[in-house]
């Protein structure tokens, strides 16, 4: 059972209150972008065994979207953070580095 701390209502919500929202920090490419950019935006996703950054929604709760950093291999959660950022904040990066030195994920490390 995955338990994530919702940074908006402060609840440690179990998985059954949450809805998974896929990969975090996607940059949208819309009208005017190249075919490659649009293809990447629509279809290209990380599929790591290890550190992963995801979007989640406290669906049966306060309703807010947030981010989670966790390990896909062990289900260990490094931390959760608010939605209004385009990358993991420093304290989340530090928390991941403490457990997975040398980690990288897309452009983040």
């Amino acid at each position: 059972m995955l338990i994530l701390h919702c940074p908006y209502c402060g609840v440690d919500a179990d998985e059954t209150e949450l809805a998974a929202g896929g990969e975090a920090h996607l940059k949208r490419f819309g009208p005017g972008s190249s075919d490659d950019e649009l293809h990447g935006y629509l279809f290209t996703r990380e599929n790591p065994k290890g550190v992963h950054l995801e979007r989640w929604r406290h669906a049966s709760g306060c309703g807010k979207w947030f981010h989670a950093a966790r390990c896909t291999a062990t289900l260990e959660v490094f931390g959760t953070y608010k939605a209004q950022v385009s990358g993991p904040p420093q304290e989340i990066r530090d928390a991941i580095s403490a457990k997975r030195p040398g980690w990288s994920w897309r452009e983040f490390s």
Partner: protein, 188 residues
């Protein structure tokens, strides 16, 4: 205008707790910056209650304020007063970026009372109901088995539950099953 009726017209059940549908209850959704003066004035003015903290409910009888999310309150007022209260709130909100909407007819409300109230709730929602973890005035949006529900504990240890009207019958049946005689777990 036709006479308004609540979802289950006050249906009740007695098991290891008493389950009652509470009848008509006015409910207004208020969204906006909860720290802003106009939003606080609209909310407190309509109910006579203080602004609730995170995951708290300040409710007396049919009037109160429930914390739904960082930018949303549920404003409880007597059903017959919803129109007047909403007009006063809209006036108090003025030009503030906000929204106040009557959702009374979209909802149903239940009360679960008796010594086993925590047990019955704990069978249905993924929430820690242990004394100390959840007490009077604590409010939570969660799920009740398969549907969305919100609830808070009152001073006497009973719970009030809000769900969508469309699932009122389902929630009543859930509560009845969870309250069957002989089904107490005795965990709290």
């Amino acid at each position: 205008m036709s006479k308004p009726v609540s979802a289950l017209m006050g249906a009740a059940y007695d098991g290891i707790v008493r389950v009652e549908e509470c009848g008509l209850q006015g409910m207004i959704t208020l969204r906006g910056d909860l720290a802003s003066k106009p939003v606080a004035a609209a909310a407190t003015g309509a109910t006579g209650q203080d602004m609730p903290g995170q995951r708290r409910a300040n409710v007396a009888g049919q009037s109160g304020l429930c914390w739904m999310s960082p930018d949303e309150l549920l404003v409880l007022v007597p059903h017959a007063e919803v129109g007047d209260k909403l007009a006063a709130m809209t006036k108090a909100l003025g030009n503030a970026h906000s929204l106040a909407v009557d959702v009374s007819d979209a909802r149903a409300m239940f009360r679960v009372s008796g010594a086993n109230a925590r047990e019955v709730m704990a069978k249905l929602a993924p929430v820690d109901f242990a004394p100390g973890a959840f007490g009077p005035g604590d409010f939570r949006r969660s799920r009740l088995a398969q549907v969305a529900g919100a609830f808070w504990m009152e001073e006497d240890g009973s719970f009030r539950i809000i769900c969508f009207r469309s699932v009122a019958d389902y929630v009543f049946k859930l509560l009845k099953v969870a309250a069957q005689p002989g089904s107490a777990v005795g965990v709290f």
